[in-house]
Symmetry: C2
Subunit: 414 residues, 2 copies
């Protein structure tokens, strides 16, 4: 078993980087968007911990960081673990960080036991997993796995028009090594569940069977600015109303039950000129769809597209454009790795169930390169995440990393 | 008749102050929010024109500007005209400016004809008529008329937390004279219609019978930030969805026909944290209701309040607060002043009809002090306003100011 106190301390220390106090709730949250100053400080802290744990650190051209512990067989492909330390703007301490700090803690534990492995073990820290700054999630791992190109990623811009490539340079994380990852032997990632399933089933460990599909798009609506007092309703082309109709319709699609286990979220929404007595001339919103079933996802996307066409034709003056931000299909995880995880949980005397991931994870990208699976740790308060209330107990975190360490050891061999 | 070319030139000159180019439409608009640097430059330009026209300028503690032309009877109450030069962020050249520059042009014309009047004539420029920077419209005239206090107005803040009082000081428009206006003999304001009625009826001049009621409120919705991928729909408290439901419901209230000639607009809408994969924790929106019938307005407000209560009770985790921003009842204009206007239009051989104002105007505030009415000038393109396409022809503007000059002369007497 790993040192749960040391693991917890590192989680709490990292959470101070980019911390903020939420006035309304009195909670302390984390705001560490990818490649901001706070993220850069966090990265340097993690690199320091990696070096203290004896890992050899390399950084690739996407800013992905890898810490390597050598094995006894210099020709063997490494076993990779890891996750991300970038956060959303209203985050807790655990999302991503548990996988990175858990990987480092697993290595420390092997060192303390004097255990050598045949294969190298590497701990990865992937850039912009959240996708909220530059618009595409799992970005660093997607480029490492070859699904997206480095050029595409470097050219992405944030809301201030800053490019990811420029921000890599500015923060000093435009590393020298090739971003294309040589296929590891296997990949395993420990992460908080970010949902209610483990708690509802009262088990400690989730063996993740796969990740549901993710569809992100941005919709821009052009209407016509007009005076709120004088413009008859029939003469309006109200971009804000159209945005509201899309949001309400998305919930109706979910509630209809016709699209399987669809989830729909509009997290980003702005109107222009955004003034009390002006009918909005323009609105911009993002649509985040999730579905474990690819066919249902495609039908939901088509239903939304049809609604957008109807909206555009509903009156003169409205025009809509959409831009694809991110799209992933359902990704199943490897049965072999899942068995190793389940066995490790059994060895530690921990209850476990199999479950699907609601969130996207770097594991789903690395799964294109090698056998991959994930370990989920249960969360409190319905598993709330992307919220300062996100919380997993020190015991739950330690148990997850116990399973991770044992899994890594099995996969790396002795 | 006035000098239409000179009037037009001053409108175009003033429109260069705060001008911007709209990339999408290729149109040139005006962005001159109250007490910004652009507004201050515009004010100084107007004061210069007033002084060149021989007017004696005074500025009150609300930044309202009055230019006075003396009459032959030093004890007589003045006839007041005017409007505002602050604009919304996507404005044209005419809203407000026509009334101010038309007033100055009327005075120039009297001077050129060597006409003296018994009563003084004053041209007023009222502060923050639009209400989009500090949240309450017709603010300067409402304080001048005693409906709102100077303390209330000075304490209002913009989105950056700057107070109106502070911005008056910063721009140098915290004038020395008392804001309470001694009742004028009469008030008449020339303004663009900002709507389609005059064009649809193919007449030049509108004699305004009154201004419909205005109800502005801000609604803040608190929900719960949550992960878009992992949070089951049943566990969400989505502040953005609630905002969308309000917007869609408001349109349903309008379309129901049960609230008379109700208009409803949500012009301001923001969500927080405003990120793709986070269920909005908070949303803020403004509701702008207009109704010519006070009872129908009250019923519409009650229907909205009931909907907000239902929304709050619809699921756990949602809470709503409302803040009143502005509220005016229907204001009827004086029949005597309306008759003088109609007679002046007849004298100039201009067709006219009576109509209600859809927009709020300083006239509705000054109406509490003295007999008041307004002259409307027709607009092109369905009378679109609060939009760079806002346009009235040089002829239409000159005709409106012809009627204004003649009306002022009649009211001021010789
Ligand atoms: N784990 C996690 O929060 N990933 C962010 C990508 C997503 O929105 O699912
Ligand atoms: N005339 C005008 O645009 N006034 C602004 C106040 C309103 O919203 O009606």
């Amino acid at each position: 078993t790993v040192n749960g106190d040391r693991l917890w301390q590192s989680l709490m220390d990292l959470a101070e980087i980019g911390a903020y106090d939420d006035e309304r709730t009195g909670l302390r949250g984390v705001d560490r968007l990818a490649l901001t100053d706070a993220d850069a400080v966090g990265r340097r802290q993690v690199i320091m911990w990696m070096e203290q744990a004896g890992l050899t650190v390399r950084i690739d051209r996407m800013g992905n960081i890898y810490g390597r512990r050598e094995g006894t067989d210099p020709t063997a492909a490494p076993v990779l673990t890891g996750s991300h330390i970038d956060s959303v703007a209203t985050a807790g301490a655990f999302d991503g960080c548990l996988g990175v700090l858990g990987g480092i803690e697993a290595v420390r534990t092997l060192d303390e036991r004097g255990i050598t492995t045949r294969r190298p073990i590497e701990v990865g820290v992937f850039t912009e997993e959240e996708g909220v700054r530059f618009g595409t999630d799992m970005l660093g791992s997607a480029v490492a796995a070859g699904r997206l190109t480095l050029e595409y990623a470097h050219a992405l811009t944030d809301r201030d028009g800053l490019t990811l490539g420029g921000e890599l340079t500015r923060t000093g994380f435009d590393g020298p090594t090739d971003v294309c990852l040589a296929p590891p032997h296997a990949y395993v990632e420990c992460h908080i569940e970010q949902g209610p399933v483990l708690a509802e089933n009262d088990v400690e460990i989730g063996v993740v069977t796969g990740v549901q599909g993710i569809s992100w798009q941005e919709i821009t609506i052009h209407g016509r600015a007009a005076h709120a007092g004088t413009t008859p309703t029939r003469l309006r082309a109200d971009a804000g109303l159209a945005a509201a109709q899309i949001i309400v319709h998305l919930r109706a699609l979910v509630d209809s039950g016709e699209y399987g286990d669809l989830r729909a979220t509009v997290g980003h929404l702005v109107v222009h000129p955004d003034l009390t007595n002006i009918v909005p001339a323009r609105a911009e919103l993002t649509v985040d769809l999730r579905n474990p079933d690819d066919a249902s996802m495609a039908r939901a996307e088509e239903a939304l597209a049809a609604f957008l066409r109807d909206l555009e034709n509903s009156g003169p003056g409205l025009s809509l454009t959409t831009r694809r931000m991110a799209r992933t299909a359902y990704v199943p995880f490897d049965e072999g790795v899942r068995k190793v995880i389940a066995q490790a949980a059994d060895d530690h005397g921990l209850d476990h169930i199999s479950l699907l991931s609601g969130a996207g994870h770097d594991a789903q990208e690395i799964a294109a390169l090698c056998p991959t699976a994930m370990i989920f740790v249960r969360g409190e308060y319905d598993g709330i995440s992307h919220n300062p209330r996100e919380y997993s107990t020190p015991e739950a975190c330690a148990h997850g990393v116990d399973v991770l360490a044992t899994t890594l050891l099995r996969l790396a061999g002795q």
